[in-house]
Amino acid sequence: MATKKWDKLKLGLFVLAGLAALIFALFMVGQNISLFQSSYSLSARFRNVGGLKQGNNVRYGGIDIGTVKKVKILDDTTIQVDMLIKKDMDRIIRQNASAGIGTDGLIGNRVVNIFPGTSDSPYATNGDLLSSKLKVSPEEMMETLSKSNRNIAEITEKLKFTVNRINSSEGLWKVLNDTSLAIGLKRSLSHIEKAAGNAEWMTGDLTTIVGDVKAGKGNIGKLLRDSSIVIDMGETIGILRKVAGEADQLALHLDQFTTGMDQEIQRGNGTLNKLLKDTVMAGNLSRSLSNVEKGTAEFNENMKALQHNFLFRGYFRKKEKAHMSQTQSP
């Protein structure tokens, strides 16, 4: 009889364990809260959350740090996203950190990405509102890519034009002769040409990719997955634009230089040497040259960074091949 009582006890435990597990599961499912670890809450406001919903992940530097607790509409243009963040992140996220909405992987789950702020800002605490970055949707990314492409093409054209203009200015070269200024100018021009060449390759590649993706060919998944390319591209275009600006400046200064020189010669006072050494124009010119130098270096640096991006892998491979055949052929 003792064993039977023991059996009943065990059966009771068994049934209770099952019921407890069920009730617990239902409770957890219904509440959607983090019971197993402490957390705090942060919010961000967006114009468009692109389908973000309760339960989506929140990431910081690509690591899951919490979940979206609630998405609510504040007014006709503002949507507030409340997030539950793991407690230990309160020593990481600062008040001037920003939040953006991104896409997670191939299937396109929305995620909130939190981007680090600056270290001079205090840490964000429970209930703080973070500033928001615009979200990048695949469509927008495509849009950005093709726009970047157009920009690059435009700038490249401009650069070529400038280089041509400087090259074809016979009077200038006659005057400069073999001075150090002439050598610097030549080097700068070749750098600009190289950058323009690089940019041209890139536009070619981008056109193919954008065309492919739009036509439904190519690996859209990979493209959509890697939103970092947009940032990289933006940066590169910025630099390229800067280079173009510098080159323009250079051309302008050269123009001023040649006209100034003509005037001086007509007036018959001062020698070329003096002109090259002392005038404001000369100063401007050499500053322009060094700026162009810096700009092209930066641009090439960025191209190297882009090299690591798959989108341009084809381009760099082509380039390497071309280089190989060039070195082999002679």
Partner: protein, 283 residues
């Protein structure tokens, strides 16, 4: 006119308990291969009807019910737990490479959680349960039938249907859901271990992930269908045993066909339940 009269005569015969002619006519018109299936279905349906007709009238065999709950529920836990654990672990390790390919490794807990709670937990547990309990009930009742123990009960003033069948079917119906819940929990723990073989996820974060991805619509239909699984397994086991043929061979056949038929029924119920869940918009 003549056909009407004939039908009337046949109806008369049926009313007088002499339905043999009509039954013969119907029987002859059913293809040979379909007959055993129809007989089986009819037998099972009749048995189910008897279950509801007889079971809920007093007197209740409470002691026997508790004993059966212990045997059927508690004693199945180690087996069900072991298979559940392995399923969770294996499923996780099998899914991982594919998810890693798509960069969805972080979705592993949620995905495994849904797979286990919605489908794998209930169905695998029910199949294991059918194998263990369906066969043992089939064999037990079969041998009781063959060795006249069921008759002896009847003679001893006990309704053997209530004492043997009702208690067992009720026990399987009520115990399987509990087994499934516990097996789900063990499975998910197995999955947690599977995730930590190649990665590092904290225990708390894993469970949060699992529950975050689960909805009421995942848990409830899966839970409800296990009652039907349990009912089907118990009923088929008892039906096969209770109507076992004479001889020891009959006992073996009852046990065997109990497992086969109840496994098929588990899948059929699963199929129906997914449709109903779909229609109810809980998917």
């Amino acid at each position: 006119m003549t056909t009407v009269i004939r039908e009337y005569d046949l109806l008369q015969q049926i009313n007088q308990g002499k339905g043999t002619d009509l039954i013969k006519i119907i029987k002859l018109n059913i293809p040979l291969k379909v007959r055993p299936f129809l007989e089986e279905a009819g037998g099972l349906a009749g048995f189910t009807g008897k279950f509801f007709a007889e079971g809920f009238r007093p007197r209740y065999e409470f002691q026997e019910f508790i004993r059966q709950c212990f045997i059927i529920g508690y004693k199945s836990l180690p087996l069900v737990g072991l298979t559940g654990f392995i399923m969770g672990l294996v499923l996780t390790m099998q899914l991982r490479p594919n998810l890693v390919q798509y960069g969805l490794e972080s979705a592993l807990p949620g995905m495994v959680g849904i797979a286990i709670v919605r489908e794998i937990g209930p169905v695998i547990t029910a199949l294991i349960f059918a194998g263990k309990i369906g066969s043992s009930i089939g064999a037990e009742l079969g041998s009781m039938k063959v060795t006249e123990q069921i008759d002896a009960m009847e003679v001893s003033g006990t309704n053997p249907f209530k004492y043997l069948v009702f208690t067992r079917v009720l026990a399987t119906t009520l115990m399987l859901p509990i087994l499934v819940i516990l097996s789900d929990a063990i499975s998910l723990y197995g999955s947690y271990i599977g995730i930590n073989i190649r990665g590092a996820t904290s225990f708390g974060f894993y469970w949060d992930e699992v529950f975050r991805n689960l909805t009421f619509g995942d848990v409830m239909p899966a839970f409800v269908k296990t009652y039907f699984f349990g009912f089907a397994i118990g009923l088929v086991g008892c039906h096969k045993g209770y109507h076992s043929n004479k001889g020891t061979e009959g006992v073996g056949r009852s046990a065997n066909s109990a497992v086969v038929l109840s496994s098929i029924l588990v899948f059929l119920i699963d199929l129906i339940s997914v449709q109903i869940t779909d229609l109810m918009g809980l998917n």
